[in-house]
């Protein structure tokens, strides 16, 4: 049982234990939606929102399952919660910003299968967080993912000006850049650590 405060967990989830750069979860939409900065910002916000709230919801669901002694349902219940919530967010985004809705396209419903979100919920169980810690961790993980994709999009836009060798063009250079970014984020590791 960890006694770290929720705020520390939030900070740690963004920087030292970034769900994308430390655990490499959620790579699919990270690589596909990081070409344009505004799309990346939109998707980042949507993922943060979904991760934050589904982690809180999943915490409650998990508690119910534990009391009923049905822990084997954890995965499928988490996925159902995430899927339902993404549907909700989809409606919300369409209502609030049709432009963002169209530029996200298929990736909005695909947040459902963004493994960063399921990963966050599962880490929460493994690390035995309490509710407040879970909420902090959820929002932190989402914000961390958003930070990573926004940085990546900014870098990729700048990369348009550089002369990338032919074999490295496209996703290849994006993967290399992700690796370099991950190493940079390791520099934060001494600051605080959650495990």
């Amino acid at each position: 049982m960890s006694e770290t405060s929720a705020l520390v967990i939030l900070i740690a989830a963004i920087f030292t234990n970034n769900i994308l750069l430390a655990n490499f979860l959620g790579m699919c939409s990270f690589l596909a939606c990081s070409r344009q900065l505004d799309t990346a910002v939109g998707l980042g916000i949507a993922v943060t929102f979904v991760t934050g709230f589904t982690t809180a919801l999943n915490f409650l669901v998990q508690r119910v399952l534990v009391t009923l002694d049905l822990e084997h349902l954890t995965y499928i219940a988490f996925i159902a919660v995430i899927a339902a919530f993404v549907q909700f967010v989809e409606m919300l985004v369409e209502r609030i910003s049709p432009k963002l809705y169209y530029s996200l396209g298929i990736f909005l419903p695909l947040i459902t299968v963004n493994c960063a979100i399921l990963g966050t919920a599962l880490f929460m169980v493994i690390r035995r967080y309490n509710f407040v810690q879970s909420v902090g961790f959820g929002f932190g993980a989402g914000a961390g993912w958003a930070l990573a994709i926004i940085l990546m999009a900014a870098l990729r836009q700048k990369m348009g000006y550089s002369n990338v060798p032919r074999p490295f063009q496209g996703v290849a250079i994006a993967m290399i850049v992700t690796g370099v970014m991950a190493m940079v984020f390791m520099g934060f590791a001494g600051m605080v650590n959650i495990q």
């Binding site: 119910v64 009923l68 219940a77 159902a80 432009k99 169209y102």
Partner: protein
């Protein structure tokens, strides 16, 4: 045993709970209530349920905007001017709109969602467009690849069309129904019939479908679209020039003219390549026997084959026009054919003293 039952119950309960929540959310989030669509500054005001696309709402209200792709945003035909309430131009529309159109508020109706009261402007004649259910009553091969298809109208039973107008035929395709434009070749005084002249284009979508139709098959189309410009003054001579398979609007014009003005002077020039591309020549010759002021001139552009006889003109059709028409008579001209032919014929007609405003043709 208990654990299975409980698992199913708990998971089922979870899913049902979420479903109910989502349905409630949908009620409040995607329900835009009843929205008003104002067409042409109050000419028509319709109340529709918000949330659908503008194109679907207009079609449901029987205002048929031309669209070739069936609302998938891939043809760019369903342009309407949205004056208020359309929201921002979406990335799915920009490839089909010019900058001037975007500034002028032109949108693709299939991409605009009705979320509030919308005010739009559409061309006047679209307000008369109807959806027709029809049945094939006859099909006839005019040449090796051109068919005449006659449709009898069921619902509504009559069409009010004028020569030169066209309809949009619904044809099935692997990606859902598509719509293609065909000129009406039957005259307006047969209001229960719509006749089409269709050349089979290999690899096309609509023409193979129309060619495959048999008597009794149902056909759905919308129409009529397009402008009408035939002069009502019987002293103005009519010149029709067709090339290739461009005959449908011309046939309509000629039969309409002789229905109303049996004595009116009318010239028909038709150009094609070989004797096997010639069609309707006998029908028009019959008509010319009844109406001495009707002149029919067919021209072949390819050299005659061996053993072929031909008493018409040889060479491209603009040369025949040049040869037969005298200058300085008040005329209206209707052209139907490929752009290079239109260009050539137009320059001949202008030499003959026609004003550019009196020469009409389909812009591709």
């Amino acid at each position: 045993m208990m654990v299975y039952l409980l698992s199913v119950l708990v998971f089922g309960g979870l899913v049902v709970g979420f479903t109910i929540l989502l349905i409630v959310a949908e009620r409040y989030l995607t329900n835009y209530g009843v929205c008003n669509i104002d067409v042409n500054a109050g000419q028509r005001v319709m109340e529709v349920d918000g949330g659908q696309t503008l194109l679907a709402s207009l079609i449901a209200e029987k205002l048929y905007i031309p669209s070739a792709c069936g609302g998938r945003g891939s043809c760019g035909y369903c342009k309407v001017t949205v004056l208020a309430g359309g929201g921002p131009v979406l990335p799915t529309e920009t490839p089909y709109l010019t900058r001037a159109e975007i500034r002028g508020g032109v949108r693709l109706a299939c991409q605009v969602k009705v979320r509030e009261d919308v005010s739009i402007r559409v061309p006047e004649e679209l307000l008369n467009v109807r959806l027709f259910q029809a049945t094939v009553v006859s099909t006839r091969s005019l040449t090796h690849d051109i068919k005449e298809i006659r449709l009898s109208l069921n619902e509504p039973g009559e069409i009010s069309q004028r020569p030169g107008q066209y309809i949009q035929v619904e044809a099935p395709s692997p990606e859902g129904p598509v719509y293609r434009a065909y000129s009406i070749s039957s005259p307006p005084h047969e209001p229960s019939i719509v006749e089409l002249i269709v050349r089979l284009v290999p690899g096309g979508v609509c023409s193979p479908y129309l060619h495959s139709l048999e008597v009794g098959d149902p056909v759905v189309f919308t129409g009529p679209y397009g402008e009408f410009s035939l002069s009502e003054d019987p002293l103005v001579e009519i010149v029709c020039v067709g090339g290739g398979c461009g005959m449908a609007p011309i046939k309509n014009i000629i039969y309409s003219v002789y229905h109303r003005w049996p004595e009116r002077v009318c010239w028909l020039f038709f150009g094609c390549r070989t004797t096997r591309d010639v069609f309707y020549l006998e029908e028009f010759k019959d008509l010319a026997r009844k109406h001495p002021n009707f002149h029919v001139i067919y021209a072949l552009s390819d050299p005659l084959g061996p053993n072929e006889t031909w008493d018409g003109e040889i060479g491209f059709v603009h040369l025949s026009v040049d040869k037969h028409l005298d200058a300085g008579i008040e005329r209206q001209a209707f052209l139907c054919g490929p752009p290079p032919m239109i260009e050539a014929v137009t320059s001949v007609l202008i030499e003959k003293g026609l004003r550019e405003d009196d020469i009409f043709y389909d812009k591709f």
